[in-house]
C-alpha cells in the first residue's frame, strides 16, 4: 500500500509506531525512503548519542558546567529534523534537543563551543550549556524558562502566515512544559489564528522528579489539543520512522494552511534530569532499565539490519567517523579560546547606552 496523505488519525489511543521492537517494519504503507536517507537518520541518531556522551564527559572533566542529557529522546528528535526543511523552516527548541539541533544542521563545533563558552559560540557565551541557537539556521536561541519559547514560535508562525512564506515553525518542549500558562496562551492563540506551527512534545513522563500523574490529569498530552481546536497525535518516540512519517504528514498539512497541530512523542530520558540531578531519588531502577531496552538507536539498527542496510562493520565505521568528527569539533571549539570579560556589556541593546559604557569602563579600569 502506498502512503496516502491522511494516513494518521489524531487522538489515537495507541501510540503510532512503525517499527516493531525486533526491528520489523510494521507500517501500514510502503516505505518510501531510500537507503541513503535511512542511513542518514541512523547517522544522526548516533551523532546525537555520542555528542551527549561527550558533553557528559566534558562535564565530569570540569570543562562544561552543566549538561541536560538527551539519550532516549533521539528517535523523536531525529524524525522531526528530517521532516523539516532546513534553512526554511524555524525551530524553537528546548534544552534537551541535542539530536534535533545537530540533525537540523547545527555545527558540532557550535554546540561544543556553547557548552564550553568559547569564542566559537555564536551566542557569545551568554548562557549555560544546552542553550544553543543560530540565526543562520532559523534556530531560536534556547532560554531556560520552561515553555517561554512557545508563544514566540506562534508569533513567528503568524508572521509566516501574514507574509505567505509557506514556512513552518516548530516548538519543542517536555511534557512538564505543557503545565505552564504560557504554553496554553500560545497554543490558544495559534488555534484562533490558524497559524502554521507544530507543537512537538517530548513526553518522557518526568519533569525533573515530578511524574506524569502529578503533572496533569489529562489522559495524554495529545488530548490537550482539544482545547485549541487542533488535532493531537501520540507517537512512539523511540521509533525514529514513526516520528519522521507523522511529522512529515503533519508538517505538510500545516504548510498547506490547515492550522496548527500538537504532536506528543513518548520517549524516556535514560540519564538524570541534568548533571546536577540524582534521579535515583525518584525513579525506580527497573523502570529505567526497561526503557533502555527500548533504545531508539537499537531499534533502528535492528531495522536497518533487517533491511540489509547495516552490519557490525558499518557500525564500527560510523562510530569511529563520528567520534573523530566530534573530537575535531571539540578541539576547534576549545582552540577558539575563552570569552573575553568585556563582551559582558555588548548586546544588551543594539548600541551600548551611556550607562553601560560607564559600567564597562568602571569594571575594566
Amino acid at each position: 500500500m502506498i502512503r496516502d496523505s491522511q494516513l494518521f488519525q489524531p487522538f489515537n489511543d495507541e501510540p503510532i509506531s512503525l517499527i516493531g521492537e525486533t526491528g520489523a517494519w510494521e507500517g501500514p504503507f510502503d516505505l518510501d525512503l531510500d537507503p541513503a536517507a535511512l542511513r542518514g537518520m541512523y547517522h544522526d541518531l548516533v551523532v546525537g548519542r555520542l555528542m551527549d556522551e561527550r558533553l557528559s564527559r566534558l562535564q565530569r572533566q570540569g570543562k562544561v558546567s552543566f549538561v541536560a542529557p538527551s539519550a532516549g529522546h533521539e528517535g523523536a528528535q531525529v524524525g522531526l529534523a528530517h521532516a523539516l526543511e532546513r534553512g526554511r523552516d524555524w525551530l524553537f527548541p528546548y534544552y534537551r534537543d541535542t539530536s534535533l539541533l545537530l540533525a537540523f544542521g547545527l555545527p558540532q563545533v557550535e554546540m561544543l563551543a556553547q557548552a564550553m563558552a568559547t569564542r566559537a559560540d555564536p551566542n557569545r557565551g551568554r548562557q549555560m550549556p544546552s542553550h544553543n541557537g543560530s540565526k543562520d539556521l532559523n534556530i531560536f536561541t534556547i532560554a531556560s524558562p520552561i515553555a517561554s519559547h512557545v508563544a514566540p514560535a506562534v508569533g513567528a508562525a503568524i508572521s509566516m502566515k501574514v507574509q505567505g512564506t509557506g514556512q513552518v515553525a516548530v516548538a519543542s518542549f517536555g511534557e512538564g512544559a505543557t503545565s505552564e500558562g504560557d504554553f496554553h496562551a500560545a497554543l490558544n492563540f495559534a488555534g484562533a489564528q490558524g497559524a502554521p506551527v507544530v507543537f512537538f512534545c517530548e513526553n518522557n513522563r518526568y519533569a525533573i522528579s515530578v511524574d506524569y500523574n502529578h503533572q496533569t490529569g489529562a489522559d495524554s498530552i495529545a488530548a490537550k489539543a482539544h482545547a485549541y481546536g487542533m488535532p493531537g497525535y501520540t507517537v512512539d518516540g523511540m521509533d525514529v520512522l514513526a516520528s519522521y512519517y507523522v511529522m512529515r504528514e503533519v508538517i505538510e498539512r500545516v504548510r498547506n494552511g490547515l492550522g496548527p497541530v500538537l504532536v506528543e512523542t513518548l520517549v524516556y530520558r535514560f540519564g538524570p534530569h541534568s548533571s546536577a540531578d540524582d534521579d535515583s531519588r525518584y525513579r525506580p531502577r527497573e523502570e529505567v532499565e526497561a526503557w533502555k531496552r527500548r533504545d531508539p538507536l537499537l531499534r533502528f539498527r535492528r531495522f536497518l539490519e533487517k533491511q540489509g542496510l547495516w552490519d557490525d562493520a558499518a557500525e564500527a565505521h560510523l562510530r569511529a567517523e563520528v567520534e573523530a568528527s566530534l573530537q575535531a569539533a571539540t578541539a576547534e571549539a576549545e582552540a577558539a579560546g575563552p570569552i573575553p570579560v568585556e563582551w559582558m556589556f555588548d548586546d544588551v541593546f543594539a548600541q551600548r547606552l551611556p550607562h553601560l559604557e560607564e559600567q564597562r569602563h568602571d569594571l575594566l579600569d
Binding site: 551568554r126 541557537g133 532560554a143 517561554s148 513567528a156 548586546d347 544588551v348 541593546f349 550607562h355
Partner: protein
C-alpha cells in the same frame, strides 16, 4: 500641524508608520473593530485589515510572546496591553524572553517591538486600572522605557520606538489621553530622541522633575509657585531608560534644590533611582535633600483615587521643605 489629543495622536502615528512600513503590525485585545478600549487604534482595522491589526485572545503572555516571534521573523509589532496593570500575566515574556533575546543570542536575534500600555491613576479605576509599573521595566536590563506627557512628545517618541531595533515599553498616561489638545507636527518623519528631558518651565529656585502622568500635577505646582514668586525649573524626563542624567545633574548643580515627583509607590520607585544618582553625582551641589513626592506604599485605592496621587499641594509642601532647608 494638526490639533489632536494624545490618544488621537497615537492612532495617527500608528497609521503613518503602518502606511510607511508594511512590516508594522498592531496586536492586542480589542485593537480591531473596537479600535482599542481607549480608541488608540481607531480605524486601523478598516485601513489595514485583520492581517495587520490582530485582535488577540485574552492573554498578555500570548500578546507579548507572539510579538517577539513576529519581530524575530521580520515584522515590527506594536502590541497593546489594555492597562499597564495587566502586563503582569505577560511579564515573564517581557523580562525573560523579550528583554534578553539579543543578549542571550549574542546579538544574532533582535526584538524590534513596542509594547504600548496606558498607565497611571486618577480615573477611578481602583488598583487594577491605575498602577504605574515603570520601575519594574527600568530595572530589567534590555528594555527601553518611554513615558511621554504631551501629544507631540507621544508622536515623536512613539515613532522612534517603532523604528528602534530594541524592544521598547511605551507607557501612556491615560488620564492625559484627552486632557489637552495640541498642535502636533504631522510630518511623517517627525521623531524625538530618547534621554532628552524637556524643560517645561525655566527657573532658578528649585528643580522639579517628573514624567508621564504626574507631569500635569507637577506643572500645576510650577504655576502655583510662580504665583508665590518662586521660580521652578521643571523637567519632563520623557524617557526613563535611557534617561537624561545630564539635564538632571546640570539643573541640580545649578540650583541645588530638587523635588522628584512620581505617582508610583514610593519604595523602590523610579525617582528613588534619580535621587540616588543625584546623591552620588552631585552631593556637593545640593543645598537641600532631594525630596521625593510619590504615590503611597499601598495598593492603588479606589475611594481615595485623587488623594493617592502626588497633587500640587503635596508637591508644594516638599518645595517648601527644600527651600527652607
Amino acid at each position: 500641524m494638526t490639533v489632536q489629543t494624545m490618544v488621537q495622536t497615537i492612532a495617527r502615528t500608528l497609521d503613518q508608520e503602518m502606511a510607511r512600513d508594511e512590516r508594522v503590525v498592531v496586536l492586542g485585545q480589542d485593537v480591531g473593530k473596537r479600535g482599542g478600549v481607549f480608541l488608540a487604534t481607531e480605524k486601523l482595522f478598516d485601513t489595514y485589515g485583520p492581517d495587520r491589526v490582530i485582535d488577540s485572545p485574552l492573554s498578555e503572555a500570548a500578546i507579548i510572546g507572539a510579538a517577539l516571534g513576529m519581530a524575530v521573523h521580520g515584522l515590527r509589532p506594536v502590541a497593546e496591553i489594555q492597562f499597564s496593570d495587566y502586563v503582569f500575566p505577560g511579564f515573564d515574556q517581557l523580562v525573560s524572553q523579550v528583554a534578553k533575546l539579543r543578549y542571550r543570542s549574542g546579538g544574532q536575534f533582535e526584538a524590534p517591538l513596542v509594547v504600548r500600555m496606558p498607565a497611571g491613576g486618577g480615573v477611578k479605576g481602583g488598583h487594577h486600572h491605575s498602577q504605574s509599573p515603570e520601575a519594574h521595566f527600568v530595572h530589567t536590563a534590555g528594555l527601553k522605557v518611554v513615558y511621554p506627557s504631551t501629544p507631540s512628545d507621544t508622536r515623536g517618541l512613539l515613532r522612534t520606538a517603532i523604528r528602534d531595533d530594541d524592544p521598547v515599553v511605551f507607557m501612556e498616561p491615560k488620564r492625559l489621553y484627552r486632557a489637552v489638545k495640541e498642535d502636533v507636527p504631522d510630518d511623517p518623519e517627525f521623531a524625538l530622541p530618547y534621554a532628552q528631558a524637556a524643560v517645561r518651565r525655566e527657573g532658578d529656585d528649585v528643580v522639579l522633575i517628573s514624567y508621564g502622568a504626574s507631569m500635569a500635577e507637577t506643572l500645576k505646582a510650577g504655576d502655583a509657585l510662580a504665583e508665590q514668586g518662586v521660580s521652578a525649573h521643571v523637567l519632563d524626563l520623557r524617557s526613563l531608560m535611557p534617561w537624561d542624567t545630564t539635564a538632571v545633574l546640570e539643573a541640580v548643580a545649578r540650583i541645588g534644590r530638587v523635588v522628584l515627583v512620581s505617582e508610583a509607590p514610593r519604595t523602590g520607585g523610579f525617582v528613588s533611582e534619580i535621587a540616588a544618582t543625584i546623591a552620588e553625582e552631585a552631593l556637593d551641589q545640593l543645598l537641600a535633600p532631594p525630596v521625593r513626592v510619590t504615590g503611597f506604599d499601598t495598593p492603588y485605592p479606589y475611594a481615595q483615587d485623587r488623594e493617592y496621587l502626588p497633587g500640587p499641594n503635596r508637591i508644594l509642601k516638599a518645595v517648601k521643605r527644600v527651600l527652607e532647608y
